[in-house]
């Protein structure tokens, strides 16, 4: 669900096919379009874009109403028994809001979401972990204030009838899917959920994933073979760029970037805020201090709080869209783009491109001259007279980049596995790796800082930056960087064997604690292992943390330590040798027996009993109810997309996720919702097998260009008839943001759905096309608005409103004229 796995992760789909053919697994695909994945599924469920929480909530309701949950798993391994505060109010009580909503600030105070026995903290915010050494709980799941009963009440209205009305899924189809999936539960059976951007790119994306997490916890599928939730990520090392965090709000290893006036005023406050008392995250201080030692080396001492004050503080929204809108408003001087193309790949692409013209300087690093590098002379804006080279002041540097075959380094794939790629030949001409670029840029900047030792240059002067170089190009030795990420003891520079070796006293350094153990000795680059020796691939690569292939795998055994079943065994307690053992690296302290009970006042991992698998949580259990950490609610609830044809059936007074930021402004306008006569169809965007994201790595290659040469739109025969579209001819699609043309593909794979008695049509667009390359086309992202989901600030790309008409788009200024005329129509 939320994925077209056969299309976009094709080689991994062989495993789905094998499960089906060899083990008679049932494949369900829930998607608005009938895709390559649907063609291989046993059950395909067509779904209205943006109604995912409704559907998944319907499955939860089905599980609870029919007693299909895995009782022992739920009681022992989740917070279903935990009691909530009496002042907590659910969205069912408050018309779509949870208790704590501040109408003026447009954010939640989550104090009332804490467990009944969680101590109050001085400064509560989403992210502070509850100290729940002993949370009051009802293992019979009957107490009206327990999470389980709250869950039942919360999803009571998510009936098959509601799913039929507002997801467009016929009742019988829903029940068939529910029966098939929810029977994959219990000691002998598990079910897995795979998702991709069909879930993430929504204004309530995190909550959609949360709904699936609740379902999997109820069915007892987390931490078990053939279970779990797999995020199908889209780039070669996007997992790596999340873990090692070129993201403003997290430092490598998911340590929070210090925030001004929240946790960032001093190291002491930062640790007090983020370190849990119980559970594995009580080791937090070891990780941040080791991280600071990696960055600042000998300059970082206990006396100066390990140079904590050198880290820049977050003071606002520094996300992609946060700073891009600032760029549009002239507040940004310089920008680096390295292997990313927002001129085609980011929403409101017209604004993305126009903002580049406000920069003083721009550095682009890529294989080819991609759209961001040529915006000043070759772009829709130049064609329409909005920009011209003579009026664009931006200084542009376009650096050629090395390809994967020309450099060594580590990718992290979508299953958290580090895989080291080994260098073949040198890159051509002046093409270099990013390692080379960053190292030599850093060398130059450190030289400047050494000559100018004022306070703002202190971090640069303290930064350790002495990597060895090799070869005629003076390429840094990447293994040295990976070793720094692994960590070492400072005194003797000896590599550590894992994060359990890290200390909070400045004697260890480690760039990213979650990867520690990937390079435990100078000749042991575990990311470069290439000898798979078992079913889970041990011996090939290194899965963080500690090469566990399935995390929280303690849950694959019963509370007493025996596997739930022989068929589904993964790790178990060996009573003779007094340790956990099995087919995977146990995600548990190896010597902690299943019947271990923590003494009163215990801290850290010692505070968790021997039957608590979710060791990063202070209470050791899976969170059906998330009391801290999310900005828009402890439970998922149905909200409509930001642009919708339909009023929210559950909450007429709360149409969309109240904590989502629309960033609405004249250059980022929205359709009226619900229902806008100017934009009567639902628009969704997606990918193709033969192209890759913004097209720089595919539309430039003749073989791939030949396979998918043209921008097209997919419409149902019914919509085509209604609008007058002809297969193989052109259509023009317009939204408040932009206007694009596409070749028309009329296909039965799209069905109009019936939602609350009216027919809803969908238009589908691939997003890969742009003005450069061997094959070109209009960019679908010109049509999307910038919006920010509350927790991770991702935009909504899967459900918005549009209109479509036959014929080509006007050229030049006339295109904007048509867009303005459409906007002026009666609403």
């Amino acid at each position: 669900m939320g994925s077209n796995m056969a299309e976009n992760h094709p080689v991994s789909f062989q495993w789905v096919m094998e499960a089906r053919e060899k083990n008679r697994a049932t494949i369900l695909h829930i998607d608005p379009r009938y895709t390559r994945t649907s063609a291989m599924a046993d059950i395909w469920v067509p779904l209205r874009p943006g109604s995912d929480v409704l559907f998944l909530g319907g499955l939860i309701n089905y599980v609870l109403s029919n007693d299909k949950y895995f009782h022992d798993y739920v009681v022992h391994y989740t917070n279903a028994p935990t009691l909530l505060r009496e002042d907590f109010r659910d969205s069912e009580d408050l018309g779509g809001y949870f208790s704590g909503w501040d109408r003026k600030k447009r954010e939640y105070d989550p104090a009332s979401w804490l467990y009944a026995t969680s101590p109050q903290r001085g400064a509560l915010f989403a992210g502070a972990l509850p100290d729940t050494g002993e949370s009051a709980a009802d293992p019979t799941l009957q107490n009206p204030h327990c999470v389980f009963q709250m869950l039942k009440r919360h999803f009571a209205r998510y009936t098959p009838e509601l799913v039929e009305q507002y997801c467009g899924v016929p009742r019988q189809v829903f029940l068939k899917a529910a029966e098939a999936y929810c029977s994959a539960s219990g000691p002998e059976k598990t079910g897995a959920i795979c998702y991709a951007l069909g879930w993430t790119q929504h204004s309530n994306g995190v909550q959609i994933i949360r709904t699936a997490a609740i379902l999997q916890l109820l069915l007892g599928n987390m931490g078990r073979p053939g279970g779990g939730i797999l995020a199908l990520r889209g780039h070669a090392s996007i997992q790596g760029s999340t873990d090692v965090a070129t993201l403003y709000d997290i430092l490598p290893g998911y340590l929070p970037t210090p925030t001004f006036n929240k946790d960032g005023n001093s190291l002491r406050e930062y640790i007090a805020y983020n370190k849990a008392k119980t559970g594995w995250y009580a080791n937090f201080d070891k990780y941040i201090i080791s991280f600071l030692k990696a960055y600042y080396g000998d300059a970082a001492t206990a006396q100066n709080n390990y140079c904590f004050d050198y880290l820049p503080r977050v003071t606002g929204d520094h996300s992609h869209f946060g700073f891009w809108l600032d760029m549009m408003d002239g507040k940004v001087e310089g920008l680096f783009l390295m292997g990313q193309n927002p001129a085609v790949g980011a929403p409101n692409a017209r604004l993305e491109r126009k903002a580049l013209a406000k920069l003083k300087w721009l550095v682009v690093r890529d294989f080819v001259e991609c759209e961001p590098a040529s915006f000043w002379y070759n772009s829709p804006e130049v064609e329409r007279g909005e920009l011209s080279p003579e009026t664009v002041a931006t200084e542009v540097f376009m650096f050629p980049a090395a390809g994967v075959a020309e450099k060594s380094g580590t990718f992290v794939n979508t299953q958290r596995m580090l895989q080291f790629h080994n260098k073949g030949p040198n890159p051509p001409g002046d093409a270099r790796s990013e390692t080379w670029f960053m190292y030599h840029l850093g060398r130059r900047l450190k030289a400047k800082a050494a000559r100018d030792p004022q306070p703002r240059n202190a971090p640069l002067n303290a930064l350790t930056w002495d990597y060895s170089t090799i070869g005629s190009n003076a390429e840094p030795v990447v293994e040295e960087v990976l070793q720094e990420v692994n960590g070492w003891t400072v005194a003797d520079h000896r590599l550590v064997s894992g994060y359990a070796d890290l200390k909070a006293d400045g004697t260890t350094a480690c760039g990213a604690w979650i990867y520690s153990g990937c390079f435990p000795a100078p000749e042991k680059n575990l990311a470069n292992q290439r000898q798979s020796r078992d079913l889970y691939g041990h011996g090939w690569g290194f899965s963080w943390p500690s090469d566990r292939r399935i995390i929280y795998n303690r849950a694959s055994a019963r509370p007493d330590g025996k596997p739930w079943s022989e068929r589904k065994k993964l790790v178990w307690w060996d009573e003779e040798r007094k340790q956990w053992t099995g087919l995977d690296v146990p995600d548990f302290v190896r010597t902690k027996p299943p019947d271990y009970q923590p003494p009163a006042g215990a801290e850290g991992d010692e505070a968790l009993a021997g039957d608590k698998p979710f060791i990063l949580h202070p209470d050791g259990v899976g969170w059906i109810f998330v009391s801290t950490g999310l900005k828009d609610g402890p439970l998922p609830t149905h909200y409509e997309p930001l642009e919708s044809l339909v009023a929210n059936p559950l909450y007429p007074a709360c149409e969309t996720d109240p904590a989502t930021k629309k960033r609405e402004r004249p250059d980022n306008p929205y359709a009226r919702s619900p229902g806008d006569p100017r934009f009567p169809y639902v628009l969704s965007t997606y990918r193709l097998t033969e192209h890759h994201t913004a097209g720089g790595m595919s539309r430039t290659l003749s073989h791939l260009a030949e396979l998918q040469p043209e921008m097209f739109c997919e419409v149902s025969p019914e919509l085509a008839a209604e609008v007058g579209l002809k297969h193989g001819e052109f259509a023009t699609i317009t939204t408040p943001r932009g206007i694009v043309e596409a070749c028309v593909m009329i296909t039965r794979r799209l069905h109009p759905l019936v939602i609350a008695g009216r027919r809803v049509h969908e238009v589908g667009l691939p997003f890969h096309f742009g003005t450069n390359g061997l094959v070109k086309g209009d960019s679908a992202n010109d049509l999307l608005p910038i919006s920010e989901e509350p927790n991770v600030y991702i935009m909504e790309s899967k459900a918005l409103l549009c209109t479509i008409r036959p014929g080509r788009r006007p050229r030049g200024k006339a295109a904007l004229k048509e867009l303005r005329a459409r906007m002026k129509e009666a609403v």
């Binding site: 090692v244 001087e333 001259e369 971090p459 930056w465």
Partner: protein, 160 residues
């Protein structure tokens, strides 16, 4: 079979092999990079990968063309303010110029503290990238840009 056919040999005969990973999607299929005397010969699937078992999709199978197609850049292109065309400059000159731009922009916009609390940042230099980059590259980007220069405005495809 003709003698010409009999004489045919695989083009990657006697080549060195580097064990690599596909640069496209998140599956991480294994790839074998065949090269000889500094020249790329072919890129194929790695049959020993437990992830991919030697298979590649159309994109992965075209990784050789990704590295060798004629549209690929090998020189630095430079555009002056208000110019209507590109110029070519050397790599060393380009690196020196970029370092100067960073240094000047940072000097103009750096904020050391607010209300007596260290802030130590500039919001006027931003960075995007990257999900296509190695762990080591992302690590050095965060280390230099954030830990050294005080840049908070950093993002990559993971957020979109």
């Amino acid at each position: 079979m003709s003698q010409q056919t009999r004489d045919l040999l695989p083009r990657n005969r006697d080549a060195e092999v580097a064990r690599s990973i596909c640069p496209y999607c998140g599956v991480g299929c294994g790839q074998l990079v065949y090269h000889k005397s500094g020249k790329l010969i072919s890129i194929e699937g790695d049959p020993e990968s437990p992830v991919s078992r030697g298979r590649l999709c159309p994109k992965g199978a075209d990784t050789f063309q990704l590295h060798t197609h004629p549209g690929r850049l090998s020189k630095v292109r430079y555009r002056r303010p208000y110019s209507t065309s590109w110029e070519e400059i050397t790599l060393e000159t380009a690196m020196d110029l970029v370092a100067e731009r960073v240094w000047e922009s940072r000097a103009r916009t750096f904020v050391e503290q607010q209300d007596g609390v260290p802030v130590m940042h500039t919001l006027a230099i931003c960075h995007l990238g990257g999900a296509t980059l190695d762990v080591e590259e992302n690590y050095l980007i965060r280390k230099l840009f954030t830990g050294g220069l005080g840049m908070n405005c950093i993002s990559n495809q993971a957020r979109i």
